[in-house]
């Protein structure tokens, strides 16, 4: 699919700039040109597609559906899947959280949504697709959704409602199944396109710098770090590699777009895929800015429990992937 792009990168670096294909610098530059263009194309297409989905996504109706129906566990899967398709804007996560609580949706189900929403987002998926290909992206998306389901179910069993902040608890006590009808917007598909394109451009623009930095670091490492380098230090048998990866990953957030290209090089130089996936999930799924926002609706203890449970589940999935992949 991207053969033409590789040819373009080869031509640009080796013919136009006249840099030798055998040199480290030539290899690194080629990698940088190819990956940057590829990621930008994917990023635009996927944010555009997600923009269309979001423009029609009836979040209100889904909330109502979840609050009205007993689904015997399937509500976790539904909430987690919806979390994956809704756009990630950390500032929407809090109103959404309260809206769910208000609708009488169990806390665990709300958490399932809240976990997958940042974890499986359009930027991460686009970059993942560009760096690791379709199969690995599917593994990431599916395990992300399952992670939301499992963590949500665990949190749901812990009776955490008393740990909400006072006013949210009041909202929770007065919760009721929402019945109101919502007026849907009546703009045609064609009318929506300009806004969606504009938003897609906005997203690409806002992560562009991180992507560039990430690919530049990746490209430099690609050319200079020897093959199998990471295998020596954090191979499959190093038991502490996964927890370490998660602990390092949680505080990084703004760099999610930049981290994936770097991790791709780690993987190509011998870092086990489970450890890498755990690291990326921790980077993308849990972050300090998110914790700060959540503190508005949860006590510190609840935020810590939430992060603790999710981080533990990420570690387990890291070990699991190291064994099965």
């Amino acid at each position: 699919m991207f053969n033409w792009l590789q040819q373009l990168a080869d031509w640009l670096v080796y013919s136009v700039l006249g840099i030798s294909a055998q040199s480290h610098f030539g290899e690194a530059l080629n990698f940088f040109v190819y990956d940057t263009i590829k990621i930008l194309i994917l990023l635009f297409f996927i944010t555009f597609l997600m923009g269309i989905v979001n423009s029609y996504f009836p979040i209100d109706r889904i909330r109502n559906f979840l609050s009205r129906n007993k689904l015997y566990g399937a509500e976790y899967l539904m909430a987690s899947t919806f979390g994956a398709v809704t756009p990630f804007c950390s500032c929407s996560s809090v109103p959404l959280f309260i809206g769910f609580v208000k609708g009488g949706i169990p806390l665990g189900v709300t958490f399932a949504f809240l976990i997958t929403s940042p974890l499986v987002n359009e930027v991460a998926v686009a970059i993942f697709l560009g760096m690791f290909g379709l199969k690995a992206t599917l593994v990431y998306v599916i395990s992300g959704i399952l992670l939301g389901v499992i963590s949500g179910a665990i949190l749901g069993r812990m009776n955490l409602e008393p740990l909400l902040t006072d006013w949210v608890r009041k909202v929770w006590e007065q919760a009721r199944a929402e019945q109101e009808a919502f007026a849907s917007e009546k703009t045609s598909f064609i009318q929506r396109i300009p806004t969606i394109v504009k938003e897609a451009f906005g997203i690409v623009k806002s992560v562009f710098v991180y992507v560039l930095i990430g690919i530049a670091i990746g490209a430099a490492m690609h050319g200079y770090v020897p093959e199998g380098f990471f295998e020596q230090y954090i191979g499959r048998d190093t038991w502490y590699a996964v927890p370490l990866a998660v602990v390092l990953g949680v505080p990084m957030y703004a760099n999610a777009a930049g981290v994936i290209p770097v991790v791709q090089v780690f993987v190509s130089k011998g870092m086990p895929i489970g450890t890498s996936l755990a690291f990326m999930m921790a980077v993308v799924g849990l972050s300090i800015p998110e914790a700060t926002l959540l503190k508005k609706v949860m006590t510190t203890k609840l935020v810590l429990i939430f992060f603790g449970v999710v981080a533990t589940c990420i570690m387990f999935s890291g070990y699991l992937f190291n064994i099965i992949l």
């Binding site: 979001n54 979040i59 950390s90 500032c91 508005k296």
Partner: protein
Amino acid sequence: MATSIKILGPGCAKCKTTFEVVKKAVEQAGIQADIEKIEDLEGMMKYNILTTPVVVVNEEIKIKGRVPTVEEIKNLLN
């Protein structure tokens, strides 16, 4: 009576853009309007919303979960 416009959002980039868009639209439409930014969550949750930013015109939710265009707001105000 001046039109009341409220912009709900906890202060992220999209919410700020929406505020600017509304201000511009009101200027261009040349009408009297009170534009208010609601950033505290409790005030925000009085309205039944799930996604931000939200534009409320005369206590009626007009736009939610996205940044509107200037034209759109002007149409809403007329």
